[in-house]
């Protein structure tokens, strides 16, 4: 195995290890609340829930606020006005 490959695998393994540790710390900091891992964006009523906490001011959240404001997309059949 070349040294470049060893470094690559070490970086990847380090990222995984650091990520797992950080996720664990965040989970503990949230008081063992599984909802901290969730992100909900409801385009029907424009609600954003980050880690179990609902965001009141959408404008403060970049990018996600634009998704939330998309609105509901109507996928029902197009009704013919002339139909009986």
């Amino acid at each position: 195995m070349t040294s470049a490959k060893k470094i690559y695998l070490a970086v990847a393994g380090g990222l995984v290890a650091a990520g797992v540790v950080l996720a664990g710390i965040g989970f503990i900091a949230s008081g063992f609340d599984p909802a901290v891992f969730t992100t909900q964006i409801d385009t029907r009523d424009s609600t954003i829930v980050l880690g179990g906490v609902e965001v009141d001011e959408h404008e403060s959240v970049p990018f996600i606020s634009q998704l939330a404001n998309l609105g509901e997309i109507d996928t029902s059949n197009v009704a013919d006005p002339a139909a009986p």
């Binding site: 690559y8 650091a18 710390i25 965040g26 949230s30 609340d33 901290v36």
Partner: protein, 207 residues
């Protein structure tokens, strides 16, 4: 039998093959006879050591891949028979050839789709990691610290896993490249013979 007589008779027996291949075979045996004469054999002894021209011609034809061998043996009997069989048998051999080509190409594509699937998994994991890191910015904006830490951790972990899967995908691609080359060789073997394979002439002489 002299060397020229041997090579002349061999050329007649192999007339069903392309001229270039006949010349190549004749050159090979001419060199083999010359080598034996250099080792001290007389011309007749060296020619006799090659076997009869008929045996040598059979060995050369047997060395061909299945399809060219069948064509050459039929052509040796009669060129007209070859054309009759080609035309009359076309409703059978054309669909069979097309089906064979379709199966060969499909298996080749399937082999590479396997490699593509591993790369897609790696790319998806990387995209999830990038999305998680983007959510860190959202968490910072709303001041939800545990969420920020969790999303940062998830982002780093997913990117790390994507890098590991990417390394696996690279290794898998290299193996699949070898497998696909092997498959292409197997699929082409009834029609074409690789340069590296031992020739029937050499095998005949070794025997």
């Amino acid at each position: 039998m002299t060397r020229d007589e041997f090579l002349g008779r061999l050329g007649e027996l192999l007339a069903c093959l392309p001229a270039e291949q006949v010349e190549e075979t004749k050159a090979f045996y001419a060199e083999a006879i010359a080598d034996r004469m250099e080792d001290g054999m007389s011309e007749e002894e060296a020619v006799a050591a090659m076997g009869t021209p008929g045996e040598v011609a059979e060995a050369t034809l047997d060395d061909l891949p299945a399809v060219p061998r069948a064509i050459a043996k039929t052509r040796r009997r009669s060129t007209a028979l070859l054309w009759v069989l080609t035309i009359v048998g076309s409703p059978v051999w054309v669909p069979l050839l097309l089906a064979f080509a379709a199966v060969a190409v499909t298996v080749y594509v399937c082999i590479w789709v396997l490699a593509l699937c591993v790369w897609v998994i790696a790319a998806t994991l990387g995209a999830v990691g990038a999305a998680s890191l983007a959510l860190v910015a959202a968490g910072v904006a709303v001041g939800h610290v545990p969420y920020v830490i969790v999303m940062l951790g998830c982002g780093l972990a997913f990117i790390g896993v994507a890098l590991l899967v990417g390394a696996g995908a690279w290794e898998a691609s290299k193996r699949i490249a070898r497998l696909s080359a092997l498959w292409a060789g197997k699929a082409a073997s009834p029609f074409w013979k690789g340069k590296g394979e031992k020739g029937g002439a050499a095998a005949h002489l070794a025997a």
